[in-house]
Structure formats: structure tokens, C-alpha cells
């Protein structure tokens, strides 16, 4: 089933943002009835996996995965 809305500005924006990559540094305070309860100190890097790899982040994970895939392929070949 297709979504009703074909085009959403927000979705497009997020798509482009992921393509470029986002780095967010934030302090978040969660309050209830004006009483601060929870604090969050955040540093966030958010992007496409391809973009991540382009920037050199998550290389280790990528290597590990490729390693695993290579092994799998070798096993299949052997069979």
C-alpha cells in the first residue's frame, strides 16, 4: 500500500540531511511541570552509512562485516 502523501517536506529534508551528515552537540533537560528532572548531554553524528564511511567513521564495523561476508562467500564456494 502506498502512503497517502507522496511528498513530505520533512522527509525530504531528513533525506538530504542524512546524505550530507549531521553532527549535533546538545544539552537536553527534560522537565515535568517546570521541574527539571533529567539531563542529557549529547554528541551525535548521524548520516548515511556511505557518508559515514566516506568520513572514516565506523570503519571498524565495516571491516568486520566485510570480513564476515568474505568468509561466508568462501564457505559457499567451498560447498
Amino acid at each position: 500500500m502506498e502512503p497517502v502523501r507522496e511528498y513530505s517536506a520533512l522527509v525530504e529534508l531528513l533525506d538530504h540531511a542524512l546524505q550530507k551528515g549531521l553532527y549535533v552537540s546538545a544539552d537536553v533537560i527534560i522537565t515535568v511541570a517546570d521541574v527539571p528532572l533529567i539531563g542529557l548531554n549529547l554528541r551525535l553524528a548521524l548520516a548515511n552509512l556511505q557518508t559515514m564511511l566516506n568520513y572514516g567513521l565506523m570503519k571498524d564495523w565495516d571491516e568486520a562485516r566485510r570480513g564476515a561476508q568474505r568468509e561466508k562467500a568462501q564457505i559457499n564456494q567451498a560447498e
Binding site: 500500500m1 502512503p3 513530505s8
Partner: protein
């Protein structure tokens, strides 16, 4: 940015918000999937990917139907889209900066 919740429409409001966010993320995932597909994926991966994303949306639609959230979700998403549209227009057109400054 305060999020206000009306008590009698609590379920609708809260669930609606959650489902709206899930739907937005799902759509972003779909777009990202299409990009990956263009960059190169094996046909089985594409088929698996497509099938899964399709299923996700099916489930979302089902939830919206069961809980009667369709209207609420649409409203929330439209509002968010308007905010984004205004924001981007202001950024892109320097004349708008002047107007906002006044």
C-alpha cells in the same frame, strides 16, 4: 519547544505522535533504501529490502486503522511540513530574512 497534551485526547495525541514519528522514520528509510539500490545492491537484497519496507508500511496502516489515528497522524505531519517549509523558505530567500527581522 513545549509539547502540549490535551487530557481527553491523550491517547489520540500521544499515540498519534508516536505513529507519526514512526511513519516519518519509515519513509526516510525507504528513501535511503532507494539510494542504496541505485548505488548497487544484489537483486536478492533489493527484493528483501523492498518486501520488508512494504510490510512496515502495511503494519503502520493497520495500527492507524485500528486505533483511529489516521486523522491525527495526518494533522501532525502536515503541521511539521508547514514548519519545515517556512524554515527552508526563510533560509533560501534573503528577502524573507528582512521580513522576519521587522
Amino acid at each position: 519547544m513545549p509539547i502540549k497534551i490535551e487530557e481527553d485526547k491523550l491517547k489520540e495525541g500521544l499515540l498519534g505522535l508516536v505513529v507519526a514519528l514512526v511513519e516519518i522514520i519509515a519513509e526516510v528509510l525507504k528513501l535511503q533504501a532507494i539510494r542504496r539500490m541505485e548505488e548497487g545492491l544484489s537483486p536478492e537484497s533489493i527484493e528483501r529490502l523492498g518486501q520488508n519496507i512494504f510490510d512496515i508500511f502495511e503494519v503502520i496502516e493497520q495500527i492507524k486503522k485500528d486505533q483511529g489515528l489516521a486523522e491525527s497522524v495526518n494533522a501532525i505531519r502536515e503541521n511539521l511540513d508547514c514548519v519545515i517549509d517556512d524554515f527552508v523558505n526563510t533560509l533560501v530567500n534573503p528577502e524573507e530574512w528582512v521580513k522576519h527581522a521587522e
